[in-house]
């Protein structure tokens, strides 16, 4: 009896070793492309800046309501890297706080959208040919057909325009794309012999959906998630730009571009900061997405 348990422990250790080895291989494939490392580094740096904004920003109090007219309209200098705005606030500090809103937006939207869409897509694909499929597919078609800005506009006019409602509007138009993605993959995998084999041995539907079908699709889903993160920022910025997202003085990047664009071209540095922030974050996520695609394509 004693011997059997040590045997089992040995196997468990072997498994750990193999799993570590697999992670190492994935990291190796990711590392092969320098650009994905650049993307990952930028995102990590921006994320740290967002988390510790209070300590990193030179003028943390400038994030919100703050007025010092004697400092207004100052061009970039050593004291203010990206100059100051019309109220004398440090643009660089505000951009750092802007990253915080950007990541919050990405996090909340993807957290709502990805699980919902993926689970519904798996179910719709698995129950192909039943009313469950029709219901889910038609419902997502309806949401896909609504233009996101119009949807955001109507939500903002019913509720109040703020960053949370803007994120809700973005999420509402986004989840069907994950349904489409997982649905089409599930349909093509549904009748593969390995699914039939598991079913014929008595595997539960939950097992089939999340242990057999989902792992195969994970790479594609993760790649889309990273590429979408940039798009969330872009749509969020567009909604803020037309005044339906975060309201001043919130240091949201889109809101800031909208506010400061009135002062173009004389005070170009004001909009340059938040605009560059948006470009940087989208670029970084796209580079990361390419790297993640390489990781899964190599298998």
């Amino acid at each position: 009896m004693k011997e059997t348990s040590t045997n089992e422990v040995r196997f468990l250790e072997l498994e750990k070793k193999v799993k570590r080895e697999n992670w190492r291989r994935m990291w190796f494939r990711f590392r092969k492309s320098k650009l994905s490392i650049v993307g990952l580094s930028i995102i990590l740096i921006l994320l740290l800046m967002a988390i510790f904004a209070e300590y990193i920003a030179p003028y943390p109090s400038h994030a919100g309501l703050y007025i010092a007219f004697k400092n207004a309209y100052k061009p970039p200098s050593l004291e203010h890297f990206l100059g100051t705005d019309m109220y004398g606030r440090d643009v660089f500090s505000r951009v750092i706080f802007g990253f915080r809103y950007a990541f919050m937006m990405i996090g909340l939207v993807l957290l709502l959208v990805v699980p919902t869409g993926v689970v519904l897509g798996l179910i719709a694909g698995y129950y192909r040919g039943t009313f469950i499929e029709t219901l889910i597919v038609r419902l997502s078609d309806i949401f896909i057909s609504l233009p996101p800005l119009v949807l955001a506009l109507s939500i903002a006019s019913i509720l109040e325009p703020n960053i949370f409602n803007a994120m809700m509007a973005v999420s509402l138009m986004w989840w069907p794309w994950y349904v489409k993605l997982t649905y089409s993959m599930t349909v093509s995998l549904r009748n593969e012999p390995f699914i039939l084999a598991a079913e014929s041995q008595g595997a539960s539907t939950l097992h089939i959906l999340f242990r057999e079908l989902l792992p195969i699709q994970l790479g594609t889903i993760l790649t889309k998630v990273t590429l979408d993160a940039g798009w969330v920022i872009l749509i969020g910025a567009a909604i803020s730009f037309v005044g339906l997202g975060a309201q001043p003085p919130t240091p949201d990047l889109g809101t800031m571009v909208s506010e400061y664009s009135k002062y173009l071209p004389e005070y170009w540095w004001m909009s340059l900061g938040p605009a560059a922030g948006i470009v940087l974050i989208i670029l970084a996520f796209n580079l990361l997405g390419d790297g993640i695609r390489d990781v899964f394509a190599g298998e």
Binding site: Q201, A203, I216
Partner: protein, 320 residues
């Protein structure tokens, strides 16, 4: 029903609706499988042999007929409605191990699934049992932590066999299980199958088009053509004295190496034509369009069962 029959099939029909019309994949076949034997179901592609296996597995329900398993289970119910013990007792090994193993699951996950579902061993001893099963089919325990793509074709099929053995079944359908493999791994897989059948007293339904495999491992043979069974005989009789012209044609088309083999091959029957479409099968005996001995009656009426001796049945007007 006799006591030694594990699977009883009677009047089984399975039609598929396609854009070209109704495909009569299986059109009224009856047979028995006895405990512990290997029954080969032989036919060209399109003959309905794989459909027969899949109906028995419950992948789709039959349109007509009876399938009784172990004298108490009705197998015309679809897979999802079958009791769990039935899903344990009947297993299948698919043709292509490349698609029958999930590419994202480790070998030990694949094999431990049936162990967990049917609670075959204590959870703490799962790994050990997986290693035993691997060893039993001739693979070392290192294969546990590999993904299917790291394995060769024969090794994958052995993993699929280990998975089928895991829940301790009594009946295994071998659905062209060796035809996708190269010759050397084919031999290894066949030997393994023969060994485990002897030791575990398993019953096999061997679905194949490879007469060499049939000769090596089966005790009885049924020959299927366009959804119907035309000859049924013990393996030895099947190869020594084939009665149905179709059987003779198939056997004469096997390439031989030795003169000895050449001598026992039926002569004078050339393989002509292709298998007709199952959408509009020929009337009467479905083989009459390719049969060199066809008589007028062959195209008009279905041939009756002719029992040559107790174990040799042929459906052909020539022997009326």
């Amino acid at each position: 029903m006799q006591d030694d029959v594990i699977l009883y099939v009677s009047g089984l029909k399975k039609y598929f609706n396609t854009t070209e019309g109704v495909v009569r994949a299986v059109d009224g076949i009856s047979f028995n499988v006895k405990y512990g034997e290997t029954l080969a179901l032989v036919g060209e592609s399109g003959s309905g042999k794989t459909t027969t296996g899949h109906v028995i597995m419950g992948f789709y329900p039959p349109d007509d007929g009876k399938i009784i398993y172990k004298n108490k289970y009705e197998l015309s119910v679809p897979m999802k409605k079958r009791p769990l013990e039935l899903k344990r007792d009947i297993q299948i090994v698919f043709q292509d191990p490349g698609t029958s193993l999930n590419p994202k699951r480790l070998v030990k996950d694949i094999i431990s699934l049936p162990l967990l579902i049917h609670k075959i061993v204590d959870k703490k001893k799962i790994y050990e049992r997986v290693a035993e099963l691997l060893e039993y089919v001739g693979l070392s325990e290192e294969f546990m932590f590999k993904y299917p793509h790291e394995l060769g074709g024969g090794e994958k099929q052995l993993v699929a066999i280990a998975r089928a053995l895991a829940p301790q079944p009594s009946f295994i359908i071998l659905d062209e299980s060796t035809s996708a493999l190269d010759v050397s791994s084919q031999a290894k897989v066949l030997n393994t199958l023969v060994k485990i059948q002897k030791e575990l007293r398993l019953t096999y339904l061997l679905i194949t088009h490879d007469l060499g495999v049939v000769r090596n491992i089966s005790q009885r043979v049924m020959i299927m053509y366009l959804g119907k069974i035309y000859e049924e005989a013990p393996t030895e009789k099947f190869f020594k004295s084939p009665m149905h012209p179709y059987t003779q044609m198939l056997l004469s088309s096997i390439p031989t190496l030795s003169e000895e083999d050449e001598k026992i091959k039926p002569k004078g029957i050339e393989s002509i034509g292709e298998i007709p479409s199952a959408v509009k099968p020929p009337s009467g005996c479905r083989f009459h369009t390719r049969c060199p001995f066809a008589k007028p009656i062959c195209s008009q009426q279905d041939p009756p069962d002719i029992v040559l001796d107790s174990n040799h049945i042929v459906r052909c007007w020539l022997y009326e």
